[in-house]
């Protein structure tokens, strides 16, 4: 909790752009920043204050009981791979990589099921988005990089 309060407070102060002159572009964000600092302090204050009778009932740990580092990594990698493969090789590899890596995150996955799933979604996705919705993304290219 303290971290959050500090984080928001810091955010507020670092983002003070411009001066509150006659409605410059910085006025509104500055106001927001100040408010955020206030609220951040208000949230952090009870956490900073010595807790009266050992109120430990709130476990403020950021991590859940079973951190799923691998799954989180897979999910976050999924759009990244989509960007990389989509930009360089086109829609089919992009989609395949995106679905494939995301499905690897689940503990019950098998290589086979992931590949099958990724293939099915790729076929479906290309048909839907490329042919029906005309998304202007090359289906297959090589190293064009847009």
């Amino acid at each position: 909790m303290i971290l959050i309060g500090l984080g928001i407070a810091l955010k507020g102060t670092t983002y003070r752009l411009g001066t509150p002159m006659h409605m410059g572009p910085g006025f509104f964000p500055t106001g927001l920043g100040v408010l955020l600092v206030l609220i951040g302090i208000a949230i952090a204050a009870p956490a900073l204050a010595p807790t009266p009778e050992g109120e430990v009932q709130q476990d403020e740990s950021i991590l859940p009981e079973h951190p799923e580092w691998w799954a989180w990594f897979c999910i976050l990698m999924s759009p990244v791979l989509f960007i990389l493969f989509g930009r360089n090789f086109g829609m089919i590899p992009g989609t395949f990589a995106c679905v494939f890596i995301a499905s690897l995150g689940d503990r019950k996955r098998t290589w086979k099921s992931s590949i099958i799933l990724a293939t099915v979604v790729t076929i479906f996705g290309v048909v839907l988005f490329s042919y029906f919705l005309q998304v202007p993304m090359p289906i297959l290219t090589w190293g064009d990089g847009l």
């Binding site: 910085g26 999910i75 759009p79 960007i83 995301a102 689940d106 996705g125 993304m137």
Partner: protein, 527 residues
């Protein structure tokens, strides 16, 4: 007035019944219903994922479809909570209390059947309310100057952030972050860049879809991956024959239905109190009115019907401020409004007169959509139940693809796909810390307009802040803000002082969100 309302409504039906619009309404309702049944996918995630699909459409079918997803999802959620004891969406958490015991007694079919009827009545009432109240509101709103608009938005933002789930203070913090994110990009009046960190891609601001998909899509997947337990489908064999309620059941359900409807519509009139609060208040009220309050929780039909009717009437009611004033009450409404803005339509009081096809078409489509839902739900419940067997591990990777391609298709820009990933991570961290991301979207959508009106008001008053208090209409809104914040502080202080002996509305937050029961000292935002 009634005459014009009827002609307008008839016009709306002609719009909504155009084959093209009707088809998309049907698609929206169907998808919403389907996804509503699936645990782990709320209407927010669904609407954000399907938002990009609407870019290629005209405005009317787009908004009809998105609205259809919303109320279709509510029907689906009811199925889920009655048959599986899984409150997929918070408004249905109370329905579980009596709905699941009914299922265990083998009366799940009846519960579903009556729920469909109750929802329909609730929704119809909400729609009627919308028809008559919206033009009135618009008439009033057209006289608003920037100062009034500004304080009204302030009220909407405050209500949306403090009355929603979780700690009000954190809600306000989230709204502020949303406002801040909304100010990223080129400044409207001076054209200078703000918070772009030298990235030209950020000049146009952060994309609403990227924000919504990051916060409600990716963050959701991250928190529920490997967490979704296999579902007990023991009770899901409901046959069509079981769903027909007996005359006695209908009689028993009749008055609770109307009571729920009234409660729901009242709740929708208070800004910020969405369907969740409505359903809890309705359940509590029904228990008070009942002759046998001790039987609640053991499978009382009244306990299912009343909150469901309340949910539906309040959802329709939520559209009133969204469509007539351009002030959304919660994140779902903010997304719908965002969808309209993407179509190039400026929300606000002028919407009804400038785009009558959208407004009245939407109103008429509510009715058509609800009828479609009643027809759909009866034969399809068995199929929905089968859908529950789809494992999450197939679901979320496919959804990931939709997220990626959807964001890409919005502007054909890979940069925004990266935005989604970053925002998803941020959203997940916030979620873990007890900050609910919904108010962020609210702030984000309203932010630029808030700033614009704020500046305009300041310009007119020559930098005098008292303009918000000296203009009467504006003063009323500011006063309501103060009351809102004041009651929050009062309730909190009282809950802190003596033991919680008061089981009033304040305790009526859903069990899911209670894990983050707030115990912080609220501070009046320095106005």
């Amino acid at each position: 007035m009634i005459h014009t309302a009827i002609t307008d409504l008839l016009y709306g039906f002609t719009v909504a019944l155009e084959p093209h619009n009707l088809m998309w309404c049907f698609v929206g309702v169907l998808v919403g219903n389907m996804v509503g049944v699936l645990p782990g996918m709320g209407p927010l995630a669904t609407i954000s994922i399907l938002l990009p699909l609407t870019f290629g459409m005209k405005a009317v079918p787009a908004i009809l479809m998105l609205a259809g997803i919303l109320y279709g999802g509510q029907y689906g959620g009811a199925i889920c909570s009655i048959l599986l004891n899984l409150p997929c969406h918070p408004p249905h958490a109370v329905t579980c209390l009596d709905g699941f015991p009914m299922t265990k007694q083998g009366r799940g079919g009846v519960a579903l059947g009556v729920t469909v009827i109750a929802s329909f009545i609730g929704a119809s009432w909400g729609i009627t309310e919308m028809i008559f109240l919206s033009p009135l509101l618009v008439k009033a709103a057209l006289q608003f100057g920037p100062a009034e608009v500004c304080s009204l938005m302030l009220l909407g933002l405050l209500a949306g952030s403090t009355l929603a789930r979780g700690s009000p203070l954190k809600g306000v913090a989230m709204t502020l972050i949303g406002l801040f994110l909304g100010s990223v990009g080129t400044d409207l009046e001076t054209g200078s860049e703000r918070f772009t960190f030298g990235m030209t891609e950020l000049d146009d601001g952060i994309e609403l879809i990227a924000l919504a998909l990051g916060l409600f899509g990716i963050a959701e997947f991250m928190s529920s991956v490997n967490q979704v337990a296999p579902i007990n489908t023991r009770y899901t064999h409901v046959r069509l024959r079981d769903m027909r309620p007996s005359l006695a059941d209908l009689k028993k359900a009749f008055f609770p239905m109307w009571r729920g409807t009234i409660v729901g519509s009242l709740c929708s009139l208070i800004p910020g109190t969405g369907p969740t609060i409505a359903s809890f208040v309705a359940y509590a009220a029904e228990k008070k009115v009942s002759k046998t309050p001790e039987k609640f929780g053991t499978g009382m039909l009244e306990g299912v019907v009343c909150p469901e009717a309340a949910t539906h009437s309040s959802i329709q009611g939520d559209f009133i401020p969204t469509m007539s004033l351009g002030i959304p009450g919660d994140a779902v409404m903010a997304l719908l409004l965002g969808a309209l803005m993407i179509q190039g339509i400026v929300p606000g009081p002028q919407l009804i007169s400038q785009h009558p096809d959208i407004f009245w078409g939407l109103v008429a489509s509510f009715w058509i959509g609800n009828i479609i839902l009643v027809i759909l739900n009866v034969p399809l419940i068995g199929i929905w139940c089968k859908m529950l067997a789809i494992p999450y591990r197939f679901l979320y990777p496919s959804a990931m693809f939709f997220v990626c391609i959807g964001v890409y298709a919005a502007n054909n820009d890979f940069f925004q796909v990266g935005e989604v990933a970053v925002l998803g991570l941020v959203g997940y961290v916030l979620l873990r810390l007890g900050f609910h991301p919904a108010p962020v979207v609210l702030g984000f959508v309203l932010g630029p307009r808030f700033e614009e009106n704020f500046r305009r008001a300041m310009l007119i008053s020559r930098g005098d802040f008292s303009v918000f208090v000296t203009r009467p209409i504006s003063a009323v809104f500011v006063g309501m803000c103060v009351i809102l914040v004041g009651t929050q502080i009062y309730v909190r202080l009282r809950a802190k002082g003596p033991a919680k002996n008061d089981t009033g509305h304040t305790d009526a937050s859903p069990p899911i969100t209670q894990q983050m029961a707030p115990q912080r000292i609220p501070v009046t935002p320095a106005e």
